[in-house]
Amino acid sequence: MRRRKLLVAGNGMVGQRLVDRALATDLFDIVVVGEETRPAYDRVALSSWFEGRTEDELSLCGPDVLADKRAEYLLGRRVDAIDIDRRTVTLDDDTVHDYHELVLATGSSPFVPPIPGHDLPGCFVYRTLDDLAAIRERAEGRTSGIVVGGGLLGLEAANALRALGLDTHVVEMAPYPMPQQLGEGGGRMLARWVDLLGVHLHCDVTSERFAPGEDGSVAALHLADGAVLPADVVVFSAGVRPRDQLAREAGLEIGDRGGVLVDDTLATSAPNVWAVGEVAAHRGRCYGLVAPGYAMVDILVARLSGGDERYEGNDLSTKLKLLGVDVASFGASTADGDDIDEVVYHDPVNRIFRRLALDAATGRLLGGTLVGDASGYELLRAVTLGDVDQPAELPAYVLPATVRPPADGELPDNALLCSCNAVSVGIIREAVADGAGTVGDLKACTNAGTSCGGCVPALGALLKTELTSLGVAVSSALCEHFDHSRQELFALIRFRGHRTWAEVLEAHGTGRGCEICRPTVASILASLSNGYVLDGDQAALQDTNDHHLANMQRNGTYSVVPRVPGGEITPDQLIALGQIAKDFGLYTKITGGQRIDLLGAQLSDLPLIWQQVIDAGMESGHAYGKALRTVKSCVGSTWCRYGVQDSVGMAILLEERYRGLRAPHKVKMGVSGCTRECAEAQAKDVGVVATESGWNLYVCGNGGRSPRHADLLATDLEDDQLVQAIDRFLMFYIRTADRLQRTSVWLDSLDGGIDHVSDVVFDDVLGIAGELEADMDRHVQTYECEWKATLADPERLSHFVEFVNAPDERSTPVWITERGQKVPG
């Protein structure tokens, strides 16, 4: 075929996909005209810009794409007219361009309802990066936000306003959010989630007018029911309209409800003019999702290259995370009436609503909605589409995963896994069979998971099942350099008495190691021998923070967190820390662990700061290590009228015993003086709660990402029984846990669970209690403060220079002042 000139109007998500696919055929020279000033970006992930995703990260056009000579990008320019007979278009700068084929991919624009005052300054739509930047600027220093429209995008926008610190209201005409997709039950359950987030939802009410404030910009919203809401920032999200103006003016046929009418070949009513994406009206309907647009591109490119594929429309099922909540709808999701049997699971406590709609006559699944728990979605959807036979126990699938384990493993090849990119389960299976071994590989090979990301967990689960069934052991190997798990490696190092990385690598590993195995071996060596962690070849093993005995911050400077055992600190120490912060220009903050963080230290200042900390009678707090962090305490019997034991004293005893102990992950403890539990000990790896006659010991609690209450291991222990039990418990954990496994996760993976721990710690069923205690004894005997050890040795100190060949120079991060202290700019 001879090369043809393809002109694409619109450089959004679908327009760019067209360019990528057309380039791959090498049949076209392409001109792309885009009204926005930047090349196409991931609009689906637009909101993540507020969370720190950069423009570069959102871009769909890497440097190599833009450098491809076969496609010319005319950005910041608009197509204003089409001359169908001459086959030319005219841009807003009056330049004229000819084409062989013209594709309209102009997307849609947000619909702004003509409410009086809708055009006041401070009113926005939510569609482009420029919109978001303008919203953020307006929100600066303001307090209230309004979103008009409680659909999918409206709620997403509301979440963004809330995250910008605005007290946010959503106004929706229907009696509950997302009526079309979720129906009443699902919509009302979603409303509960919205409420939980602190966003105020006003349903069943219309907006009457926006009123300006003194500066002439929007300030208040008057509702039809008489209520008046403060409105510093207003976002309209009341649906979209296809951008079909250009086509209308050129005389192309338009759908009844707008959009450029296309047939199954995606041809418009004019020769050599095609339309794809949100602007295309196929069989009279425009789609507001990216997946149909991508599917249209595949068909169109195949057509333009000589194929005869047809576009048959898209299924509208979706599953996504909305405000952090799983929400899905599939098939005839809200089907209702006499001929429908509905199966409903309704749990207002955990805010889960799941509804399946079955044909009352045949029992066939027609569709459904899932809110708060979308497990089983892939299978249910495949059943609705007829891709899978309906399981006999189908009504049971209405139960959430916590009640009934999902049956995703049974997915057939033709079930869709990633709807954004139309990737089926079969394609993933093929890719795994061809060697893809990680989720990253699968993304690169199949495009699955690269748009909204909602399918990534399902992708990971499928990958694991497939690898296992292919006989590729889903290995417990640490990384490509060691075939052993951390636990095996620990046993080998302990048994063979290895003392250096070189010995361990030589005996058990290959290659040069990496950012996974090096810190793991470092931690094991430190747990077993307790030497200075930066001596010998161990220096090259330590992870970012351990390597400079301080936590690296996002601008390359460090924090210093001195140990404050049990949270008890003298006035003189407080003054000393304040003085140090002043002398070195550090930001100070009370941490969540009852101590004080000094942030923003330059690498070369660290030793000078430590010296002063040590002079004030304090030492390293190991905030940088996978090691004991803090032992939190409450004031206990010394002060508190309820206290029954000296919780501060016990916390200090424990913190001084276990300080510096290196472990698979960090270890936190807490000691409370009575059962009111003010030290939150049951949220810690080791929690101690005073009783009238001793101490109750709890283990394996966790805060963080997946909070878990600790399990009770023993009651009414005396002081020395308590210490002995904790010695054994900690050393058993250190021996047997995986890398970066907190005690909570370790317990869940341990055969026999808490009973087994109890058997080992109290009944010594493994016969290792003596070893465990001896290991801990050695730790306690040989502990030294790493900061002090550094200061004592010029060789070690030489490590703390920023530029080896210019010891007096230092980098110059940008600082700004916030609330009277300096912070990274």
Binding site: P63, G435, A444, G511, R512, P519, N555, N805
Partner: protein
């Protein structure tokens, strides 16, 4: 490699970093080369590499403080901030080819490591592509 250089040639074209044996094995140090921060790595097999010290994802000068390792035969350093790995030989980022760093030629003269004022940007991404 540049052979037969006189000391004066080298002084004009390169900046001294440190004596070889002052560089820790399998770890990096940062140096200032004509005002630019450069990360220099000495590996246990004797190889010495220099790449930009500035981490391209955040613009923060920290790469010399990353962990050295290998991926297959490729010697790497992982960013200390978010662990993206860079090929020490080419500067290519293995986890995101759109964010390469420059490499700087290294010369050893009289047992002193020098960085030559001639940085290169290799744009060739992973030539093999993903494994399928």
């Amino acid at each position: 490699m540049i052979d037969d250089l006189t000391d004066t040639d080298l002084a004009a074209m390169a900046t001294a970093v440190a004596p070889v044996d002052r560089l820790p094995l399998d770890r990096g140090v940062a140096a200032l080369v004509e005002g630019e921060p450069v990360a220099v790595f000495r590996l246990s097999d004797g190889a010495i590499y220099a790449i930009d010290h500035v981490e391209p994802f955040t613009g923060v000068p920290v790469l010399a403080r990353g962990l050295v390792g290998s991926v297959g035969d490729v010697p790497t350093v992982a960013s200390p901030l978010h662990k993206q790995r860079f090929d020490l030989r080419t500067g290519v980022c293995l986890d995101d080819p759109d964010h390469p760093v420059r490499t700087w030629p290294v010369e050893v003269a009289d047992d002193v490591v020098h960085v030559v004022h001639d940085p290169h940007l290799h744009s060739s991404a992973n030539p093999e592509g993903p494994p399928c």
